[in-house]
Amino acid sequence: MDQADRLSNELRHIAKAWIQAGAARVTLWTEEEPIWTLPKGANPLRLHGVEIEVNSGHGMRLRMDWGTLPDLTTALDQEVAALTRCADTERALDEMTEAMIQTQDQLLALYDLAQTTRSRVELADLLPSLVQETWRLVQPEAAFVWLTLDDEQPYAAQAPEPHISSRAMQRALETVALADQRLLWNPGEATSQPKPLHDDRALLAMPLRIRERIRAVIGLVNPPGKAFSSPDVKLAGTIARHAESQIENLLLYRETVEQARLHTEMEIAREVQLHLLSPSCPVDATKCLDLYATMQPARVVGGDFYDVLCTNRDQVIVVIGDVSGKGMPAALLMSRTQGAIRSTLSFLPEAGPAAILRQVNEHLYGAFSDVGMFATAFVAQYEASSQTLTYANAGHAPVIYSGDGNAPRLLRADATALGILPSCDCRDHRLKLRHGDLLVAATDGFNESESEDGRMFGLERLLQLVASSHRQSAQEVAETLTGAVAAFAGHMPRSDDQTILVLKRRPGANL
């Protein structure tokens, strides 16, 4: 609608009022053309009654037939009433236009902000870009942002140049955090809050709530004579809400990346550990022994360990152990313990199991006691020529021997675990291994596994399972026990590492 249309509409209101007050006919003319006539359907009024020039630059004239309209005063009263209605309408329209422009400005500001800041993944990049865009959109003399996160140095950014001291920015954050709302210090306006800037400049401080606390402030500064307007404050508020979510998202992203990095590192650690725990079984050993071992850590890495070694053509050594605790600390000590056992065997190839454990305890006691941890360990040495199994047990359970045609029994520890006392007093014990005899060494992740109703798997079930699986291969025995424990636990998550080593004598062969 152009200006002429709007004027025509306003005049129509006046004409309606005149008609209602008694005028017979009113026509609006532009130059020599009738635009409209009231009442509707009446012929245009030509030269009759009164003619009013409308001084609008559009050449409009109102012609009126007085009819029963009493006098000009009444006509003017009606005109005033109609114009008042028009003015009210125009004012309402202005208010709507103003609101629409402000909303549009805020939406466009958000769009610009999102475009500029969306690819920022570091606070050191995001904050300067945020404050630069804030400065561009609101156009204050200067803008700043100050952010403090737990255990990190404060982050600060300013635009167009560093104008504000760190102390003043910090004061601004403290003040808005205390007030728990945005604060405005306009020139000449009294405020009860202490002003962070010690001069006459105007300051608008918008708090940013991050992680449920006010941890940042966006500050806008104007020269002494220039107050912040209501649209400025609204726009700054919109920017602050956007900044909050941008910073929240960035922190979340940062945490996700850190978690992913840790996850990757843990996966690598797991690979390394599994590699350490999967020594290829010496070919010579498999001639006389059926050997199988496996480990399932409760977390990505675990503290359980096992090993199978051949020191000479007549001997196979098997090791199983469990470092207290779980996860990375246990895994690190597990690796060290396994390394110490291998190292001892390499320097003392003739040492028996008890001597190995005593030497390892001496070597690692300091490392374990410093961190309040310990490791159980069972070492067994099979000598093919004599078909003898010599073993020593430092606090490890369960170890089950099934042979002699007797029921399976536990080979109990006769010494404390490694790392508890400065010296380990474990002793060697001997067994004659006959064809089909079975040794099952596991970690407590088996017997202490819990069911959904809180019952423990226990040693008795393990002994029964070993008895019933006596004719199976080493791998089948391990799988039977592992499967039984898993079925028993149901949906309960594995709370401890589970490691099992099964050794079974093959018929009659030597190494």
Binding site: D2, D94, T97, E98, M100, I101, L108, L137, Q139
Partner: protein, 131 residues
């Protein structure tokens, strides 16, 4: 409308009535004198009889579009240097290239914020005065 001595007149050429009102309201609030034309033809008719400091014209309009209007203005000595800001909602860069070739003063994308509009108008008018 009355033109004060210090007020600068801006002719807004825009066929969309809401945009007319938004532009008119924003510029009037910033103390500019506003005239409105619905298309290029009306704009030329207005300019025949009135002085004007700046034209803000939409690109897409019936009867005569903004680019044609710009071409007409540049073809007349009287309006050859009249600053013109073009408004467009189109992402087609060919408009911009053509308008640049015809000596447009500035380009604004629709919708534009009131701050960007006023900033651009002030800059173009200042350039017009100094140039």
């Amino acid at each position: 409308m009355t033109k004060g001595d210090s007020m600068q007149t801006i002719l807004v050429v825009e066929d969309h009535h809401v945009m007319q009102r938004v532009l008119g309201y924003t510029l009037t609030r910033a103390d500019y004198d506003i005239a409105i034309a619905e298309n290029g033809v009306q704009a030329l008719e207005y300019l025949q009889e009135h002085d004007c400091d700046l034209v803000i014209a939409d690109v897409a309009m019936p009867e005569m579009d903004g680019l044609t209007l710009l071409k007409e203005l540049r073809a007349h000595d009287q309006w050859h240097h009249l600053p013109v800001i073009m408004l467009t909602a189109s992402v087609d860069d060919s408009y911009r290239v053509s308008a640049d070739a015809l000596g447009v003063s500035a380009f604004l994308n629709k919708p534009t914020s009131s701050r960007d509009l006023l900033r651009t108008v002030a800059r173009v008018l200042a350039d017009g005065r100094t140039g």
